[in-house]
């Protein structure tokens, strides 16, 4: 009897221990999941999160971005980071939740290409700042003729913003933008997986951006290469092929449509009335039924039917690649190569999500000086990936290409040993990152295939260039070579025959200068085989 009592008490005891924790608390404890693993990477992550936010905001508002980044060491291993943009800014009353509460964002469920999507990045940076230096973040917005300066921190226990101060002062009416200032612990490096590298690379794929950098040891300004924004990506509805059963159920219960056909045509892309009717037919579901009255079995049948009907691929105006010439242009500016090519593939689909690959190759010129092995720049939605290169679908695709086919040194393992920069940018409404650190892309066969196709197309263009270069140099050398060899050849023929060398040589040079031996002719001669019995 006593034993039984104890057990029951135990169950209740355990029940009583159950409590909710906030997502902020979760990430505070698991900060390495957000990229705060070590001082060097943490510093980079903070800058990256704010910079990406700024870039997204400008693009959303269709403003040519100008983004200033300032980093100053205030004491040993403590840095003041300021990121300022000319974007639209935010209304001051929205600032606290936009920067002080996890899982709040404007882009989470939208199917459109964006850099940030999860409502986590900027908050993570602010959380890291307050965790390491205890200092609140200062957000400044220029809004309706006023400048608002809001200091805030995150109440970790409640996942709520805590506003510490709020100032406002009038400014010129047409000023706009947002500025974030935080103090963080970290370690600053100048080369490699560093903040300057990050900025230089993101500028390549966003060449319409002006970046002003003021670092602890160096400053630079990257001017706009292009004065035109890429076309605006559209938001799309989910494609039926990518929808899980559970999500479909939820959609059924939340729709405002009054019947199944209406539901299907209005909530999904690529389902027209005909497709909708045939889905209902296959699923044996009454097309006029109210969605909320569908039974679980009916929804399941609908789900199956949706996968089985033939539908067009999802629309791809949700993606916005660069123009090839712009990508080429910025690669040229950054690396000063002798040749550059950019290829933007048509969009493709993975699990119902549209995605698109753009690549660039820069060859020779100043690159020779940098390295003897190819440099790989990986991007996802125009944002550089600096860590975990060896573990990424892009790397795998690059290594699977046989570069020897394109007149480059063959790569046995890894990258080809050539003066080459390989840029690969994966654009999608949903990038399958391997972790929230967002540094490596999962190895889906569809993605690897597209990247390879893009690289092969670019490779062929590079190959044509290399061939032309070869021929050009070759023709110029031709006469010279023949004349040089004639010098010694004449001597040998003179040895054999006793005729004076100069006599033979002059005759030969006459023949050469007539110049009747073209490449094509030569080939034919080479293959000429005479049978003698």
């Amino acid at each position: 009897m006593t034993e039984v009592k104890e057990e029951k008490t135990l169950a209740e005891e355990m029940g009583e221990k159950i409590k909710e924790i906030s997502i902020a608390e979760f990430f505070e404890k698991n900060k390495h999941l957000l990229g705060y693993e070590n001082p060097t990477k943490s510093l980079l992550t903070v800058v990256k999160e704010f910079f990406d936010n700024s870039l997204d905001a400008c693009l959303e508002a269709r403003i040519l971005p100008t983004i200033k980044v300032s980093i100053k060491e205030v004491k040993e291993n403590v840095y003041r980071i300021v990121v300022e943009d000319n974007g639209p800014g935010l209304p001051p009353d929205k600032i606290p939740i936009a920067f002080g509460k996890f899982l709040v964002g404007s882009k989470f469920m939208r199917l459109r290409q964006n850099i940030g999507t999860q409502g986590i990045g900027a908050k993570g940076a602010i959380l890291y700042a307050q965790l390491t230096t205890g200092k609140p973040a200062k957000i400044t917005t220029y809004f309706k003729g006023k400048k608002y300066e809001i200091e805030l921190s995150i109440d970790v226990i409640r996942n709520e913003p805590k506003v510490i101060s709020r100032k406002e002062e009038p400014i010129e009416k047409n000023l706009h933008g947002l500025k974030v200032e935080v103090f963080v612990e970290g370690r600053y490096i100048e080369k490699g997986q560093s903040i300057p590298t990050y900025l230089k690379y993101i500028w390549i794929t966003n060449p319409f951006t002006k970046i002003v950098y003021d670092g602890p040891n160096s400053s630079f300004t990257l001017e706009r290469v292009v004065n035109e924004l890429p076309k605006e990506p559209k938001e799309i509805k989910p494609h039926p092929y990518g929808v899980e059963l559970g999500r479909l159920k939820r959609m059924v219960h939340m729709t405002k449509s009054r019947n199944v056909v209406g539901f299907l045509t209005s909530e999904f892309s690529r389902i027209g009335r005909d497709s909708a009717l045939s889905i209902c037919k296959i699923a044996k579901v009454d097309q006029e039924k109210k969605p909320s009255e569908l039974t679980d079995e009916e929804i399941e049948r609908l789900h199956k039917a949706m996968q089985s009907v033939k539908l067009m691929s999802p629309p791809t105006d949700c993606l916005s690649a660069l123009k090839e010439e712009y990508l080429a242009e910025s690669l040229k500016k950054e690396f000063e190569p002798e040749f550059v090519v950019a290829v933007v593939r048509k969009p493709a689909v993975y699990r119902g999500y549209p995605f698109q690959v753009q690549v660039g190759l820069a060859y020779g010129g100043k690159i020779q000086e940098i390295t003897q092995e190819a440099i790989l720049l990986r991007f996802a939605n125009h944002t550089p990936l600096l860590y975990n290169q060896s573990d990424c679908a892009i790397t795998r695709a690059v290594e699977e290409v046989d570069w020897g086919n394109y007149r480059l040194p063959r790569n046995s393992k890894g990258l080809p040993p050539a003066p080459l920069v390989i840029l690969v940018d994966l654009i999608s409404v949903w990038i399958p990152y391997k972790s929230e650190g967002k540094q490596a892309i999962a190895e889906y066969p569809e993605i690897i295939k597209e990247v390879k196709l893009a690289l092969q197309e670019a490779g062929r263009k590079l190959s044509i260039y290399l061939h032309k270069k070869f021929v050009r140099e070759h023709l110029a050398m031709r006469a010279n070579i023949f004349e040089a060899y004639s010098e010694v050849f004449s001597e040998f023929v003179s040895d054999l025959t006793g005729k004076p060398k100069e006599y033979i040589k002059n005759k030969l040079i006459e023949i050469i200068r007539r110049g009747e031996y073209k490449d094509g002719e030569e080939k034919k001669m080479k293959e000429e085989v005479i049978e003698v019995k």
């Binding site: 010279n480 023949f482 023949i511 490449d519």
Partner: protein, 367 residues
């Protein structure tokens, strides 16, 4: 095609070389692109005559031009070697392949290149010239490496010396790289044993095998040198003595035999014409292993041996030969090879006193 090349008269070769130069000169004077016809040495021009069982070059020749970017260099090198060869014959000097390389290696005015950069280039030019004027490189006074010794009841004349191969102590006569000029003065032997290892040659020599069996014994180390092969060929053709090849029972040994008999298969090249189709295999066989109880003295095959065996048994000249295929099968089954030295386990002089006399007496050759 002619198989055995007689030692040519020096004047004859000089004439041919001069003729080559004159053909170039004629084309030049006519305003044409100087050209030369070189027998093709790619696989399609290598023929095997299953009846006569010999490898030979087919009748394809390719025409090469001096004014052709892909060929001008090689063309020049060919002329260079021809010019050097003419000089050597006139001065009665010989050079090694390495010396020929250094002699030809000099800067081409106006180019940052030498006439030849690697010895491979001058070697190839020598091979080209051999084909073009149908002469052996030794006749062009260019020698490969010297290696190997000979003993037997033979007296030769070389550079004015009379040399008795039976009176040279334990060492024997060191075979020169070039045997074109030796004369056979007195030959008192019935056949030749060529053995692939000098250590075994010393065994046979110490045991006076050449005296007892009345033969000539020749050895080099591993693959026979050109000097040795030419010597064997000359003995075979000029003196009519059979050549018996004594090797290990493994793919490498059998290939040594194959080269002596059929010529090397390294892409068709004049050395194929050093072949001796009448040569016979006297080396260890799968049957010998059983017969002489060598099973305990086998050496396990390594991967490379197996691979080589697979290659060699597919050669045209072995592929349709049942006797050889049987040997290859035995070898494959054993997954091991047997060395000549293993016979020593049955007695130091077993090879000389039992193995060789018995096999020769019974005519246990493979062909």
């Amino acid at each position: 095609m002619q198989f055995y090349i007689k030692p040519k008269q020096k004047n004859e070769i000089l004439k041919t070389l001069r003729g080559l130069g004159e053909s170039f000169l004629k084309e030049i004077e006519e305003g044409k692109n100087p050209s030369v016809e070189v027998p093709v040495r790619t696989l399609r021009n290598i023929k095997f005559d299953p009846k006569e069982r010999k490898i030979f070059l087919g009748g394809y020749v390719s025409k090469r031009y001096f004014l052709h970017l892909g060929e001008t260099r090689r063309f020049t090198q060919l002329a260079g070697i021809a010019s050097l060869s003419k000089k050597l014959i006139e001065e009665d000097k010989h050079v090694s392949l390495r010396e020929a390389f250094y002699i030809l290696k000099r800067t081409i005015p106006g180019l940052k290149k030498n006439i030849v950069e690697e010895q491979e280039e001058s070697n190839r030019a020598i091979e080209d010239l051999e084909l073009v004027i149908n002469a052996l490189r030794e006749q062009l006074h260019m020698n490969a490496n010297k290696l190997g010794a000979v003993a037997g009841n033979v007296v030769i004349k070389d550079r004015g010396d009379l040399i008795d191969w039976s009176k040279l102590g334990s060492g024997g006569w060191s075979v020169p790289s070039n045997v074109e000029d030796i004369e056979f003065v007195e030959v008192n032997a019935k056949f030749v044993i060529y053995v692939e290892k000098s250590a075994v040659w010393e065994r046979l020599h110490e045991d006076k095998v050449w005296k007892k069996l009345n033969c000539i014994i020749v050895a080099s180390q591993g693959q026979a040198t050109r000097g040795i092969r030419r010597l064997l060929q000359r003995i075979n053709y000029e003196l009519g003595l059979p050549i018996y090849v004594l090797t290990d029972f493994d793919p490498w040994g059998i290939y040594i035999y194959s080269v002596i008999k059929f010529g090397s298969i390294a892409l068709a090249h004049i050395s194929d014409r050093l072949a001796i189709p009448q040569a016979k295999f006297l080396g260890l066989t799968g049957d010998d292993i059983k017969k002489y109880g060598l099973e305990k003295h086998l050496i396990k095959f390594k991967e490379i041996d197996e691979k080589r065996l697979k290659q060699i048994r597919e050669y045209e000249w072995f592929k349709h030969n049942k006797d050889w295929q049987r040997q290859f099968d035995l070898m494959e089954k054993m997954e091991a090879k047997a060395e000549l030295e293993a016979l020593a386990a049955r007695g130091i002089t077993f090879i000389s006193e039992k193995y060789l006399p018995e096999k020769i007496k019974n005519g246990e050759f493979l062909d």
